[in-house]
Symmetry: C3
Subunit: 115 residues, 3 copies
């Protein structure tokens, strides 16, 4: 039962892989920017980590989206749906959760399957 790890530091790994399933750490990005820019930065980070893990956005199982302010819901959804327009969408849950600092508006946690 081996685990593979990507981008490990003393606090966390950015990805773990076990039995063909890829678990990513909560991704954040573009601190201080608006919700559109932050959502795009997070999805770009997810694309990059999934690629490194042998997966992609077409192989997502599950996404959990934390928004610091639920008024960003529709702006986030627009970019989210554009990102998934050529693939089948995973399961999802979105809740309002304050993040590690006020400069962050969105964090997304995904699980995927290797290609």
């Amino acid at each position: 039962m081996t685990i593979s790890y990507l981008s490990t530091n003393p606090r966390m790994s950015q990805a773990t892989i076990h039995a063909g399933v890829v678990y990513l750490s909560g991704q954040i990005g573009a601190p201080g920017k608006d919700i559109a820019a932050q959502t795009r930065a997070v999805l770009t980070a997810i694309d990059s980590l999934l690629e490194e893990a042998g997966s992609d956005r077409g192989h997502l199982l599950q996404a959990t989206i934390w928004l610091a302010d639920m008024t960003d819901f529709s702006s986030m959804n627009e970019i989210w749906e554009e990102w998934l327009k050529d693939v089948t969408a995973p399961t999802r849950a979105t809740g309002e959760v304050k993040l590690a600092g006020p400069e962050y508006k969105i964090e997304i946690i995904v699980t995927a399957v290797q290609r």
Copy 2:
């Protein structure tokens, strides 16, 4: 490494299935009703999706419960325990998380195993 999807729209699928594990989207229901009615609606939606996915409440692995207001904790628990009275309960975590709209008091995210 194939994934099966249930009830897919451009934003999300209501279920993904991979390697015998079923992942459901966060379930909500009975907007504007009290916590008892909403909890029952959510659990009914979960029963229905699990059935469609070839599983049931007796094969749950994990549940994450988001309550918009933690004062609903004991009312939710009563209905939750009644729902599980004939099966073995899964792991669980419950936190206070504001949901997509103020008309929603509870969202439950579960993972299960196919029968």
Copy 3:
């Protein structure tokens, strides 16, 4: 597709095990104590449950950390990193989520692999 359960009561099991993957319920501990004491109590509870499930802190896949107050972030991180100093860290996401009662400052939900 069998599931093993540990420490089951009518509301939840403390662990479920399926296909070599261990899912723990959200762990809390040391109610009313400071964040350092509560974090240590939670990590001790996780060590104990993982041991009972045939796993350990060196086989973690994923951790979700709920802090009732994000000002406890750095104090929690210090103890978290000390706990993981001899192993490879799992993926992680940390959000501010109010817990079942005000006497609880931290809850951690982990998934691991059996040794």
